[in-house]
Symmetry: C2
Subunit: 282 residues, 2 copies
């Protein structure tokens, strides 16, 4: 398969590129081209002539998007449109796998969250992801791409930015400091292994159509994750609540219903939370 | 009521301002402020301190939006966010009535179209309207505004730009030319009277919540509309098919289900299609 990956230098992107190459795909990156530049974006698509596009590039850190909605719309929505629109110049509509987010569901009241749950974005990032999804669905209806949308829940692995909670805890543990600062520990989240996630991407490209939740289907409290990480690290550390890390009222539990991905893609998460956290610790 | 109207110089906006003033509202316009200018937009909102905002401003002509998606996102989506965000500075969350469009439903296969029909935008304009809706819903969930979304179907009256079909036919009839150029006449559309539409806006502000279709609940083919207009005009004119006016495959019939607006808003279209076309003819 000739594949084009955007965001190929990012956390998930770099794991995906490695996995695709191992799977004998011919992988092209998007390089330093700015997705907001329609002409240059089109040039890449026309030059690469991909059979599959994995679109992971964009603004992915919630506070960044919150600070600048305009830039987020430009990069995440217009950027997606630029890539998808360029596909109309290809002789065959490529499969377009969009990295969306479980964040689109917003402040859910019941779990697990199926794809039928109506999205209620609670921040600019998730709003932009929902918009990007609509762009892909429209281009898909027009026959310009074969769109597949993945709504990714929390996913972890070595190499993630330390703005994300598990990477942050790991970095604090590795720092050798006696004290570790934490925020709210009671919220339960769905953490999956980046190695499982990249398999889902490729299976989605091969046999997906429509929208899929990609998560572990399990949820653990941040407290449980922290306890497991401390145990794996075999370090002694004092856990201290840091008021600056406490966010406002958070959703108590987020857990993905991944039955559709299991059924349609034949995908199953292979790594347990303990294996994943050991992988994160390294 | 202290009300702020954007797009107050536009076709519907000017009828709305007139009607609101007749209803003893204290009406403020948005003037020449560019919705893309966050600071100036905020200044207007803070200065006016509206109890109700009727947001009609933006790019509303489909081919304009098709030519420039970025500008459409900036004006229609970011612009909506700028106004709604500014409302967080008010002491009380205003009612925010968004002019959306029946276009968001796209290429529907069955009529009448209820609000439960899943939107499938078929052009950039309707995509931007769907996004603006989501922005308003988000701000509404956050308690920053009390959002009401009106999905307007075709609406007509004197003063509409001649890009729109009925205004175009009328102008051709008035021109005194012997020949009239038309496109596809078989498509059936839901035409409502702009005077009915502006009543719906005010009722929506008073007692609406959520999303409402605003149309006539009837559909007429363009042929029927043309025949009626010619009869009203009492002119003799030859109707000629103009290939440049023929669009690609069009949706055969669009008709709004307006039961929800009737029930929740106590709104009923008062003008028959003949009365409306007589009004258009003048």
């Amino acid at each position: 398969m000739r594949v084009l990956v955007t965001g190929e230098r990012g956390f998930v992107g770099s794991y995906l590129v490695k996995y695709l190459k191992e799977s004998s795909d011919e992988v092209f990156g998007f390089g330093s081209v700015d997705l907001r530049d329609q002409e240059k974006t089109e040039e890449v698509v026309i030059r690469v002539k991909p059979e599959v596009i994995y679109h992971l590039g964009g603004i992915s850190f919630v506070p960044d998007a919150e600070r600048n909605f305009k830039e987020t719309l430009d990069v995440n929505v217009l950027g997606t449109e630029h890539i998808a629109k360029a596909c109309s110049k290809l002789s065959h509509p490529p499969t377009f796998v969009l990295a969306s987010s479980g964040e689109v569901y917003g402040k859910v009241k019941t779990v697990p969250i199926s794809e039928e749950t109506r999205p209620k974005p609670a921040n600019n990032y998730s709003l932009s992801k929902l918009f990007a999804e609509e762009v892909v669905r429209k281009k898909s209806r027009e026959g310009i791409v074969r769109g597949v949308i993945l709504r990714l829940f929390n996913h972890i692995g070595p190499g993630q930015r330390e703005d994300f909670v598990v990477a942050n805890f790991t970095a604090q543990l590795k720092s050798g400091r006696k004290e570790m600062k934490v925020g709210n520990l009671s919220a339960k989240r769905d953490f999956s292994d980046v190695r499982d996630v990249v398999r889902a991407y490729r299976l989605a490209a091969e046999q997906g159509s429509g929208t899929y939740n990609i998560g572990s289907g399990e949820s653990y409290s941040i407290q449980e994750i922290l306890d497991k990480l401390i145990q794996i690290s075999a370090r002694e550390i004092e856990v201290v609540q840091d008021p600056s890390r406490m966010r406002g009222p958070e959703v108590p539990e987020i857990k993905a219903d991944i039955a559709k991905a299991k059924r349609d893609l034949g995908w199953n998460p292979e790594f347990s939370i303990d294996e994943t956290l050991s992988f994160v610790w390294g």
